[in-house]
């Protein structure tokens, strides 16, 4: 069941578009905001509310990069792996980050730390190439990454 709040927020989005289907993506974002990720059960709730086939919604949910179909950590790190950051040494920074986040072995992209604090995901060019390498943590952009800077940034998120 959608919560009262989720339902209200989705209904607000419905006023902005001429069809219910158009709200699919916004509905998933709203549910993800409240529940952390979009489970099969959540998709069923949305499908019922928007009167859409579950299969259509599932196809949409799996298509987009920022809809999570698995639980994620308390914070999500989006590490830019595109070309300008690559030229500026992003792979070395990424290795450092994976070492720092790993327990026993380096964390791999797509994994969540054992304490549930961070999930690490690759991301397409974040549009801050003059300050490469860059990453986002949740909605915060962090630029000009070095190992020391990465260490400091991680401390900001608990």
């Amino acid at each position: 069941m959608l919560s009262e709040e989720e339902r209200r927020e989705i209904e607000h989005e419905l006023t902005r578009y001429p069809t219910r289907q158009a709200v699919s993506i916004d509905a998933m974002k709203i549910v993800q905001k409240h529940r952390g990720w979009v489970s099969d059960e959540a998709l069923r709730d949305i499908a019922e509310f928007l009167q859409l086939p579950m299969a259509d919604l599932d196809g949409v949910a799996t298509f987009y990069n920022l809809i999570f179909r698995k639980p994620v950590g308390r914070h999500v790190i989006y590490f830019c792996d595109s070309v300008s950051c690559w030229i500026m040494g992003a792979p070395r920074q990424h290795d450092h980050l994976c070492e720092r986040l790993g327990a026993g072995r380096p964390l791999q992209a797509g994994e969540t730390t054992t304490d549930g604090r961070f999930t690490l995901l690759p991301i397409v060019c974040l549009g801050a190439c003059d300050h490469a390498p860059v990453m986002m943590v949740d909605s915060d952009l962090h630029t000009d990454l070095t190992p020391a800077r990465i260490d400091r940034i991680l401390e900001e998120y608990n």
Binding site: R16, Y17, P18, T19, Q21, A22, V23, S24, I25, D26, M28, K29, D56, G59, V60, F63, Y64, N65, L66, I67, Y78, D81, S82, V83, S84, W86, I87, M88, I123, V124, C125, L126, G127, A128, C129, D130, H131, A132, M136, S139, L141
Partner: protein, 424 residues
Amino acid sequence: METPLTQNARPDCPPDRAAYERAGGYQALRIALRNLTPQAVIDEVKKSNLRGRGGAGFPTGLKWSLIPKDAPHPRYFAANADEMEPGTFKDRLLLEGGPHQFLEGLMLASYATKADVAYIFLRGEYVLAARRLEQAIAEAYAAGYLGRNILGSGYSLELYLHSSVGRYMCGEETALMNALEGKRANPRTKPPYPGTSGLWGKPTTVNNVETLCCVPHIVNRGAEWFRNLANTSSRAKDGGTKLYGASGKVKRPGLWELPMGATAREVLDRAGGMRGDLRLRGLLPGGASTDFMTEEHLDVPLDFTQPQKVGTRMGTGTMIVLDDRTCPVGMVWNLEQFFARESCGWCTPCWSGLAWVERILRALEEGQGKPGDLERLEFQTRFFGPGRTFCALAPGAAEPLQSALKYFREDFERHIREQRCPWS
């Protein structure tokens, strides 16, 4: 030198509505709604030679006139703020630094195309831009620049921000429309073109952020002024200024508003040249999906026509610089990993060909290149090149690869011969 797009851009603290108005903001909207018919706005933009700054360079006024005269309503406008072309960071500045300039351009474009509803399709990662746009939209509604019967003109426009959930494909205009309709962002067959049948089957126009930011200035100062902002050799087919940028190992990576037709050499000069004792090997003039240029091409004016003479195009105008201590094969592998991952899977040459190319490049980098690999790569650039796919993603992916094979052939061959990456 005039810099109309960025002179009031303040990424740290953008002008609010009052500050924007004090600097002459929303005058163009008043002029248009009071004195100009939609057709007159289109005519002025046509005369200005403004072309689409998303990278394709389609003439903006012409795009606006593709809506049939008796086309039904509602009509839609979509601002493409899905900046995701690797190496491109220009629309971020315009959105974060001056949201009202962008909104005014969007309103004027919507008026010219008689749109009833406009959507801003913003990439989800641009969170700061989203906050600033939401605030600017609220201010514009409060001032009567949006909503019903704008400034007593009889024209009405509703404007909504759609924050996307990530996928490079969404920048393609027909895929963008599918995304707005709540579907997977696959491209659509053309024709019908969006001007006839776009969002929900209704007439729709899509323009890039930088394109829209030019429009208030054209209405305020006139087409001739705008055309003459461009360098002399570009004026016949282009107009205005352009945001050029440089990233990679240059001394001062950044973004500069220069006359349309600036050369790569001028942009590199702004960036202070190469870092330390590094030397320039080549550059992608405007994002991942453009062909490499080399030292000998640095004086070609970067506009929407002249780079074709040397086999490339301006694209987004934000160049990615390759130095002599970075492996060109590794760079192209990075680019093709991106394209392979972001392919939407709709067309076989794209999803299959890009994955294949990515595997060959990985093998070269990991010391497992085989004789014939370079020929296979060349075959693939033709196999998923122009005319074989619904959209420009795969043809764009072919551009850096085919030109790298031409300019850096020896580097590719060394990877096979030495069975290793000579740079690692």
